[in-house]
């Protein structure tokens, strides 16, 4: 083995590369997943969003294709009739509003009418002031919480804007808070562009009557929202005279489903990584085994000499096994070191993302590779054991 360094090196490369592929892709996959999950940051994981759409089934004398809207009353009904729900809170958005203060204006703002409980759906990161509260809603105060981009555009001088007034449409609102949340989830408008006002104010000013765009609900701890879906449909359908089995009429998106979709996706990716990685390692191991078989044949005389001067077949077995384990382990250690180095570079360029493989995973991988070395050495070692002492006498 030591005699033929370049061949040993090439042989070990298969194992090296397989281990690198497996660990690097696993680490990379984890980091990538964490990066995706960061997009959902600050968003309650046990949330569903309800949106009205046209009916697709005729029901109780109504024709299909009828439009309808969620209404303020639905909030109360859901709270009362589906007690497993924790938060039930409305939202309505007015897109492309322009927000103005003095000479500054921001035309991509979204005026969002919300309830105080909305903070439990999309968690704010309050830079200044406070969030909208129950009193704001009940008394229909003309106050607002503004998103980061709105704040940056309207208050370029910085500082605490609370108490100052901004105008959206024709109405002036007093700023009570600034939300710096950077979540990329947007429910009816990105939080960075939002001007949040009490929903009854929005309903009045924008002539929405008691209609709302959507209702966000969260389940109480331990409740799986998907099990409540049928009940929610019944409650809403009864109030608006459509068929509770008419799924397209009430669109419900459940973050749990969303997360589990991402999860399934990554489970699939991981499975693929394992398949490819293990396949490559196995191919590498078979390569090692084959090369060692050839080597053993070349070493017949040497092994014969060892037998002639007193080596038992077991001595020969352990010798070949140790060589095999040493070769695969060395390749494995190099593979792990290379992986750790590569992942360290990735982690450096994506701060805060867990790309690196764990210490114990590395140790486990190493133990597995050493075991693989044993399996790899099996065939060459059995062949070496069959070499008889007389074989040392044969002419080279």
């Amino acid at each position: 083995m030591t005699r033929n360094k370049s061949r040993s090196l090439l042989t070990g490369f298969g194992v090296f590369w397989g281990l690198f592929m497996l660990l690097f892709m696993l680490g990379g996959g984890n980091g990538f997943k964490a990066m995706m999950m960061k997009n959902f940051e600050g968003f309650a994981t046990n949330t569903a969003i309800l949106v009205a759409d046209r009916t697709t089934k005729p029901y109780k004398g109504f024709q299909d294709g009828r439009g309808w809207s969620l209404e303020t009353g639905d909030i109360e009904r859901l709270r009362r009739m589906v007690p497993q729900l924790d938060v039930v809170t409305p939202s309505l958005s007015i897109w492309s509003s322009s927000a103005v203060r003095e000479e500054y204006s921001y035309s991509d703002a979204v005026v969002k009418g919300i309830g105080a409980e909305y903070r439990q759906v999309e968690e704010p990161v309050l830079k200044y002031g406070r969030y909208l509260n129950e009193m704001d809603i009940l008394q229909e105060r003309k106050v607002c919480v503004i998103g980061r981009r709105v704040y940056d555009e309207l208050f370029p001088e910085g500082g605490d804007p609370c108490g100052k007034y901004i105008r959206a449409g024709a109405i002036y609102y007093q700023v009570v808070g600034v939300d710096f949340s950077a979540s990329n989830i947007s429910v009816n408008g990105n939080s960075q562009d939002a001007v949040l006002i009490p929903f009854p104010v929005a309903q009045k000013i924008y002539h929405r009557g008691n209609r709302i765009d959507l209702i966000c609900v969260t389940g109480r701890p331990g409740v799986t929202l998907s099990t409540l879906e049928t009940r929610i449909r019944e409650v809403i359908a009864e109030n608006h005279f459509f068929d509770p089995t008419d799924k397209p009429a009430l669109f419900i998106i459940d973050t749990e489903q969303l997360f589990s979709m991402v999860d399934t996706l990554f489970t699939g990716i991981n499975l693929l990584i394992w398949l490819v990685g293990l396949g490559t390692i196995l191919a590498g191991a078979i390569g090692v085994s084959n090369i060692m078989l050839v080597t053993v044949k070349e070493r017949t005389i040497e092994i014969g000499i060892r037998r002639a001067i007193g080596a038992t077949p077991r001595d020969i077995l352990s010798q070949i096994m140790m060589e095999s384990v040493a070769l695969t382990s060395a390749a494995g250690v190099l593979g792990i070191m290379f992986t750790v180095a590569c992942l360290a570079v990735l982690e450096k360029s994506n701060p805060g993302m867990p790309f690196q493989i764990g210490f114990w995973s590395a140790i486990l991988a190493l133990v597995l590779v050493a075991l693989l070395g044993v399996v790899t050495g099996l065939a060459p070692a059995t062949r070496a054991m069959a070499i008889k002492p007389v074989d040392a006498m044969r002419d080279e």
Binding site: R3, R306, I309, G310, A311, T312, D315, K388, P389, M393
Partner: protein, 221 residues
């Protein structure tokens, strides 16, 4: 009697069966210095391999120091070879990627002797054979005579009772041959090691005290 062969027969069965040893009966006392001569293909190496438990025989009896050598387990065979017998070969048969001293140590490694102790012993033997300065050299850096002396050191290190040499001077020039034979004669004299040497060379045979001649697998002493 150290070695006692009774009607040993050996047939090789590779394709055409070849009856090589046709009833060898032979006794060798402890401390003898014996040469075996005979034409090429007469079965000298075959006989020596059987004596060295490197190969087995078909019928007959081989008694070594009062033990019948037949159907030994691999372990027992390895143990006899390791402790009783030293081998010297025509082509030296050193392991090419090990240094001289490592080659000499090898039999002790298989006895489980500690690294330090076997190294010290190997150095001592190399010193006795005048090879101290060559200890860390590889076989391909040494002359034939030097290699054969390394091989002799390796054969001696376990204090064997018997040394079997198959044409030990076959690859050496006449001057070196004489040196090697003198060395073997000296070991036989001083250490009372039983020497059995297969050779074609009459001058080599003349150095021994007894010559056994084989012809067509039969002894004609």
């Amino acid at each position: 009697m150290l070695i006692d062969l009774k009607d040993i027969n050996k047939t090789y069965n590779n394709g055409q069966p070849l009856h090589v040893l046709k009833g060898i009966t032979l006794g060798i006392e402890a401390g003898e210095f014996v040469s075996i001569m005979g034409a090429s293909g007469s079965g000298k190496s075959t006989l020596l391999n059987i004596l060295g438990i490197l190969d087995n025989y078909d019928t007959g009896e081989y008694w070594l120091d009062g033990t019948l050598i037949k159907n030994l387990s691999e372990r027992q065979g390895a143990d006899y070879r390791n402790r009783m017998i030293g081998f010297i070969f025509q082509s030296f048969n050193l392991i090419s990627f090990k240094t001289a001293v490592e080659n000499v140590e090898l039999p002790l490694f298989y006895q489980g002797v500690s690294r330090r102790k076997r190294h010290a012993m190997a150095m001592e033997y190399l010193d006795r054979l005048g090879l101290k300065d060559w200890a860390s050299h590889y076989p391909n850096e040494m002359s034939g005579g030097q290699k054969q002396r390394v091989a002799i050191a390796r054969a001696l290190i376990t204090h064997p009772r018997i040394i079997l040499a198959d044409e030990p001077t076959g690859a050496l020039d006449s001057k070196t041959s004489v040196e090697v034979m003198d060395l073997l004669a000296q070991l036989n004299r001083e250490e009372k090691v039983t020497m059995i040497i297969v050779t074609h060379d009459p001058t080599v045979a003349s150095k021994t005290r007894r010559t056994i001649r084989i012809k067509d697998g039969i002894i004609e002493e």
